[in-house]
Symmetry: C2
Subunit: 182 residues, 2 copies
């Protein structure tokens, strides 16, 4: 992703949070992580993240999704003595369609991103509206898509080690190189 | 505290959060913890808590304080193999004056509750406005008071075991008996 695209997504994320009454410091706005997963289609498969705190004991983030944006399927494996990240998603605004391992829904309510279709394999559906939450156990494959108004999700979890996440789509780079604008 | 007082504080807490754009489910509203610490003066020394999740790995709560309300001085000791609760306070709305061990402020900006004065002993001052946060290390004594508009504080932490908290004021009961109304 180019630096200019990242800046624009950061600006849009901060505006989205501001509208929902969530305040960030200027330093936090500049540190918003814009994850395009190296796929070059941020609006389709992408996610914006604000990490409030990540210690060796716990982590808290705000996840922001633009309307219809999808975070691709992945899992959090054990790392050293850690059994893998356990995470609780709490919907704060908008809505989110979350898919995890388990009994698949007869017909899911969202459309899988066409470009990544073979790499979406779990279809047990959980729909979260503001005030609703769900805890994802370590090692469980999951992916999620925002509803038509986008979504703000508070993520409460054990320590986050994103660089170890395992994505189903082998093309994905969790932390790709940023290209400076020419 | 009487059941009716608790219900009224729950109602007020939910309204306060609602005004700040934070949505709770009906079940969560009914489970709001109203902590008066057995001192019988909730408006002076008291705190309202919503526990979103508390696993053996992490915990997340929303703390709500009415204008000028104070959470009395306490610390989180080691419990079994756990080194003690580590917690990050993130101010979401209003303002909070937080006091921890360390170099005392020459003159603190709030008034210590008269009734509990001998039991406030740490005066290193941190002031948090929306978007600002501070992490309290395990075993460190701390207390905090809301500003004139009250406060909403997201607490991200390691596992919470409130029943082991050590309060400076020996009169305090962290989890007192609720009296039914006559």
């Amino acid at each position: 992703m180019k630096r200019s695209e990242i800046r624009e997504a950061q600006r849009r994320t901060a505006a989205f949070l501001h509208a929902g009454g969530i305040v960030l410091t200027q330093q936090e706005i500049e540190a918003i992580e814009v994850a395009g997963f190296g796929l070059g289609q941020l609006e389709v498969q992408g996610l914006q993240l604000i990490t409030y705190v990540n210690t060796d004991r716990y982590c808290a983030k705000e996840l922001v999704m633009f309307p219809g944006q999808t975070c691709p399927e992945h899992l959090h494996p054990p790392v050293g003595g850690d059994p893998g990240k356990m995470e609780t998603f709490r919907c704060r605004a908008g809505s989110v369609f979350l898919y995890v391992e388990g009994k698949p829904a007869p017909a899911i309510q969202v459309i899988v991103p066409a470009d990544g279709e073979p790499y979406y394999t779990v279809f047990h559906e959980i729909v979260l509206h503001p005030g609703e939450q769900y805890t994802i156990q370590p090692g469980v494959k999951h992916w999620f898509q925002a509803g038509a108004e986008g979504a703000v999700i508070s993520e409460f979890s054990s320590t986050s080690r994103d660089e170890f996440d395992i994505f189903t789509d082998p093309r994905i780079e969790r932390i790709p190189v940023i290209r400076e604008d020419e």
